[in-house]
């Protein structure tokens, strides 16, 4: 290790690939930390502008209602109120946001403010702008809205029933999209099976990662140029602009997104375009900067929930020896009041169709519906987590019904490492992995051989011990061609990310990223990659913090989402740096009078391999081209400012068969947990936890471990107390951190970590994206509860009352048909 690395404690098990010399693979100090630990980060709410007006949104108190009238007159009379905006204005000034889905979802009209009707509690209806936050809040109470309440729909299955209230009249149905996915031959599998296990209903509960920083923006409008600048925390500005520009009837270049530090996003800061458009309209209308910060309550009620999905009529053909041949399921996905990004969730689970398993015959009948709940957004684990939970529930329920050991049944059915790269039934390629090895390590870490002893010990104390495994995958680097499986008219495919690397006049190396980091350490890992290629140290590399769409080069799909930075972002950085390196060698070779192959970049210099004394420091190279270039050959075509677009190798999928590779990399998470249940109360505690992860080459091991810890905490929260529950009128019962209990420091069990590195053969650095995890903790806790209680667990979130109900109820909903 060099002096620029830190050596904190190591996890208990690490099986690394061969360590090459260099900064990649080391724990270099994070560049982001110095400013953040001093409170000098710049989060959007820290930014101030003279004369800015603060926005407070008037929001619907009803889950479903017509808007009869809105009167802002009294609010406008208050001194210090600058102006207002209502849905009527929005409907005139903007066009509805474009919809991803085919009909019926295609006909939904989605605007920046409610137009004519409200469809979820918390939906913004009007905006009031004033000279202080308090005044805006006060004045908003004077806006008079007359509603005509309608029956609210708060259940996905009910949305499909005859006579259900229709949320979007223009669509004529509550269905956003539906489709049948059918691979292999399920009927033949059913015929071949020795048993068919049928599970009536499983339900993945609604929750979200609830980042600590809420969403928001400070918008400035330049009247002369018609350009908006938004200081904000949008995590995927490319897509934000694609929605906003046509709505505002302007070109994309009129929208500038500026972010620096973002307080977590986890997919919750992708669909901010409705509120941002409202703020843009206000900035233009009122000719002053407009500041909006979302309240915690608004984030919970009206921003971004994770997918809520019901799985019905699951059928699993199984051989007597425990080989599972496939499964069939009918899925109903509840995307809340407006689909927005969500129709992609109807497809994206297909990246991990078989989960970790080798079954070949899979049939999924998928329907997405709207309900009077908060809209859903790609929350961490997006759509794959829900599907992977299904596969894990299937494996554990089948094992229980047929008396099979959950470890053995997994090893029998896991995709094997020698089969990698492995083509799934729908043509996705699992790049690499060793699930059985990961499971073995997890079992070792959790002292699996002492399980029965621990069970007896728990019993002696009046507790029920449960053991559970959660195997899951984090698929990363999407092929946006998957969107054509949703809607053949969509013009998205492949993926991209962009970076620029330049050598400045004084020899500074400056990098800009197309990504929008929210704590993942992009400044640091990018510098590691650059340093290794240019032969300098990460301290010599200056990565511009944050993302500015006017400064940072980017492409249509740029952003930080979907577990891909290590592949796409760093792939772009690598490509740009290699271009720059080639130019530097070329220039040096001209100056030093040798061939380019004679030049190496090392120790901050370009020098002759044969004679290291003949060297040009980077500063000299930068100065020559930028300021002192007389005499250089006229045909020398270099700029020392390289832009590179990384494009993963994807094809368009086959729309007919819904077949093709949808993601480039598949990171593995195999977790195990031990739970003790108090059978008298239903209360339970996670007493031991092992997490084994494999994301290929780890660029910065500490950062990878941090992501694993965070994903585990979020999964444990989602498994225990975090649920967005609604009453029958559409009121969210957990609208703040008081009622929506997330894990605090004392709630966390000890976590034992293990890592292996199965490098990806498909990526520039052998790394895989891994930030989301796949919700392994949820799957493991459900499995452990099932083991402890001896009852089938059918919900993803199991608060104490649900455990108590399981304890005292008959186990039903699962049947086994023998041949």
């Amino acid at each position: 290790m060099t002096e620029t690395t830190v050596t904190p404690e190591r996890p208990l098990v690490v099986e690394e690939t061969e360590t090459k010399p260099g900064f990649v693979g080391q724990n270099v100090p994070r560049k982001e930390d110095k400013r953040l630990v001093q409170g000098q980060g710049v989060f959007f709410d820290d930014v101030k502008r003279h004369g800015m007006g603060y926005v407070h949104f008037v929001r619907s108190p009803y889950g479903h209602a017509k808007i009869r009238s809105i009167d802002v007159a009294r609010a406008l009379e208050v001194g210090g109120v600058y102006g207002t905006l209502t849905g009527d204005e929005v409907a005139i000034l903007t066009d509805p946001f474009f919809e991803l889905s085919t009909p019926p979802g295609a006909h939904i009209k989605d605007y920046a403010l409610a137009v004519g009707k409200v469809r979820h509690v918390g939906e913004p209806v009007a905006a009031v702008v004033a000279s202080s936050r308090e005044l805006a809040r006060d004045a908003s109470e004077l806006v008079e809205v007359e509603y005509e309440p309608l029956p609210a729909l708060v259940d996905g299955e009910a949305a499909l029933a005859e006579g259900a209230p229709i949320l979007h009249e223009e669509a004529g149905s509550n269905v956003v999209w539906s489709g049948l996915f059918d691979w292999g031959d399920f009927e033949a599998a059913r015929a071949e099976a020795d048993h068919v296990v049928k599970i009536e209903r499983l339900h993945f509960d609604r929750f979200s990662s609830t980042p600590l920083e809420c969403s928001g923006c400070l918008v400035e409008y330049n009247r002369g140029t018609g350009q908006w600048t938004m200081y904000c925390n949008h995590q995927m500005p490319g897509v934000g602009a694609i929605w906003m520009a046509p709505a505002l009837r302007v070109g994309i270049d009129k929208l500038r997104f500026v972010t620096q530090d973002i307080g977590g996003a986890f997919g919750n800061k992708i669909c901010l375009h409705p509120q941002f458009v409202a703020c843009c309209l206000l900035a233009r209308k009122l000719n002053r900067p407009i500041q909006w910060t979302e309240w915690r309550t608004d984030q919970h009620t009206a921003n971004a929930h994770g997918n809520e999905r019901t799985f019905l009529d699951v059928e699993v053909p199984v051989k007597a020896d425990g080989t599972m041949l496939g499964f069939s399921v009918r899925a109903v996905d509840d995307c809340g009041a407006f689909p927005r990004y969500e129709p992609l969730g109807c497809i994206i689970w297909a990246q991990v169709t078989p989960g970790c398993y080798r079954w070949r015959n899979i049939r999924v009948d998928f329907t997405q519906v709207v309900t009077n709940k908060s809209p859903v957004s790609p929350n961490r684990g997006y759509s794959r987590m829900q599907h992977l939970w299904l596969t894990e529930r299937i494996v554990d329920i089948v094992a229980r019904e047929l008396g099979l050991d959950p470890v053995e049944v997994r090893k029998r059915n896991y995709v094997r490492t020698e089969e990698m790269p492995y083509e799934t039934p729908n043509g996705c390629i699992y790049d690499s992995g060793n699930y059985a090895r990961c499971l073995d390590i997890a079992l070792e870490l959790i002292d699996y051989d002492q399980l029965e002893e621990r069970r007896r010990d728990a019993e002696a104390r009046g507790k029920l011990l449960g053991f559970g495994i959660g195997s899951t995958l984090d698929s990363g680097t999407n092929n946006f061609g998957q969107s054509t499986l949703l809607n053949p008219e969509l013009q998205f495919s492949g993926n991209n990310e962009v970076a620029t690397v330049k050598l400045d006049i004084f020899g500074e190396i400056v990098v800009t990223l197309g990504t929008v980091p929210q704590g993942q350490g992009h400044e640091t890992t990018a510098a590691q990659v650059v340093a290794d290629i240019l032969g300098c140290t990460p301290d010599d590399v200056n990565v511009r913090p944050g993302h500015d769409t006017y400064w940072n080069s980017h492409a249509g799909l740029s952003g930080t989402y979907a577990s891909q930075f290590a592949v796409t972002g760093l792939g772009a950085v690598k490509g740009a740096t290699e271009k720059l390196a080639a130019e530097m060698r070329k220039l040096a070779s001209l100056v030093l009078g040798c061939s380019e192959d004679d030049i190496e970049l090392a120790e901050g210099q370009a020098r002759m391999k044969a004679n290291p004394e003949a060297a040009l420091p980077f500063m000299a190279l930068g100065a020559i081209l930028n300021a002192n270039n007389a005499g250089l050959p006229t045909d020398l075509d270099i700029t020392l400012n390289a832009r590179y677009m990384y494009r993963p190798p994807f094809e368009l999928p086959d729309k007919e068969r819904k077949y093709g590779n949808l993601t480039l990399t598949y990171a593995t998470q195999i977790h195990a947990c031990l739970i003790e249940v108090d059978p008298e109360t239903g209360g339970y505690e996670i007493v031991d936890y092992a997490a084994v992860d494999d994301c290929g080459k780890r660029i910065h091991p500490q950062i990878v471990e941090g992501q694993v810890h965070g994903a585990t905490a979020q999964a444990l929260g989602a498994a225990t107390h975090e649920i967005f529950a609604y009453d029958e009128d559409g009121n969210l019962l957990t609208p703040n951190f008081y009622d929506y209990h997330v894990p605090h420091a004392l709630d966390m069990p000890p976590i034992k970590n293990g890592y292996i590195e199965s490098e990806s053969p498909f990526t520039p650095l052998g790394a895989k994206g891994m930030g989301e995890g796949g919700g392994a903790g949820i799957h493991a806790v459900c499995a452990a509860l099932q083991d402890a209680l001896g009852k089938t667990v059918t919900r993803s979130c199991n608060p104490y009352h649900r455990v108590w109900e399981l304890l005292r109820s008959e186990d039903r909903g699962v049947t086994v048909q023998a041949r």
Partner: protein
């Protein structure tokens, strides 16, 4: 998250505080603020005037009498109780205070605020009723003492009425105490809590989180069956909410009552 306009006063004597509270209908005492400020942020209630009690040293302090009686000023914080050598005369008090939320809340939140807000999920009302504590209330008419079991009248309503202040709590000597709860997460909001005390003859078992006020039951003995029976006979009608259906709270009340009494028996011996 933003309060309505409010007037603020910081009296330097209890008499001044009482005068302010008595003179203005919309005046409200501000103790630790760990409940009231949140209520005002949500605009669920917006007093016209806040009378800040934090400057009133008269209302602070813990005294241990020679007979083992504890006198605790209403403005004593949870942290002060946890760290007080005197309060250890009745150890369960500090132990329960230490379970409330987190350090920041405990540093500001007060025992007086806890009981006067009487949020049904609070820890201290059931405990004080189990102790048989006495609450001293001062108003324009003078001072009076109300037993804890008569102090709690409804959600956010106590015997300390408009123009009055709870000034101190008097806790008799004792040590046969137990407290059992099921919180949402460690030190989180209680789903159900039960305080039990075996001093002074018959057991006192007090169930919280199941009604607007703590529910006192008096089982015939400290045996498990008697305790369960007494709780069942109380015919509790707890609310249904996102954390627990009514039936679950009823069940928890019985289980936790038994546990609280068992814990009390252990301490008493």
């Amino acid at each position: 998250m933003l309060l309505r306009e409010v007037e603020y006063a910081r009296p330097s004597s209890v008499d001044d505080a009482l005068r302010l509270l008595g003179e203005h209908d919309g005046a409200r005492a501000l103790a630790g603020g760990q409940t009231l400020v949140n209520v005002m942020k949500a605009r669920a209630a917006s007093p016209d005037i806040l009378v800040d009690l934090n400057g009133l040293d008269e209302l602070k302090g813990i005294e241990l009498g020679p007979d083992g009686t504890l006198e605790i000023g209403a403005m004593t914080t949870y942290t002060e109780i946890v760290e007080s050598a005197e309060a250890r005369a009745r150890p369960i008090l500090g132990e329960v205070c230490a379970q409330i939320a987190d350090v920041q809340v405990r540093n500001r939140g007060t025992i007086g605020g806890n009981v006067c807000s009487n949020d049904p999920t609070n820890h201290l009302p059931p405990l004080l009723v189990a102790f048989g504590a006495a609450m001293t209330i001062r108003g324009s008419g003078g001072e009076r003492s109300v037993p804890a079991e008569e102090f709690f009248l409804g959600v956010y309503m106590t015997a300390a009425g408009p123009g009055e202040l709870l000034t101190k709590l008097t806790i008799p000597a004792g040590k046969g105490d137990g407290f059992a709860s099921l919180p949402i997460g460690r030190d989180g909001t209680c789903i159900v809590n039960v305080a039990a005390s075996l001093d002074g003859g018959a057991p006192r078992v007090v169930v919280g989180c199941v009604d607007a006020v703590p529910v006192l039951v008096r089982p015939e003995s400290a045996e498990d069956d008697a305790v369960r029976g007494a709780v069942r006979a109380a015919g509790l009608q707890p609310p249904d909410d996102v954390h627990a259906p009514a039936e679950y709270r009823r069940h928890l009340a019985e289980v936790l009552a038994v546990r609280a009494v068992r814990a009390a028996k252990e301490r008493a011996s």
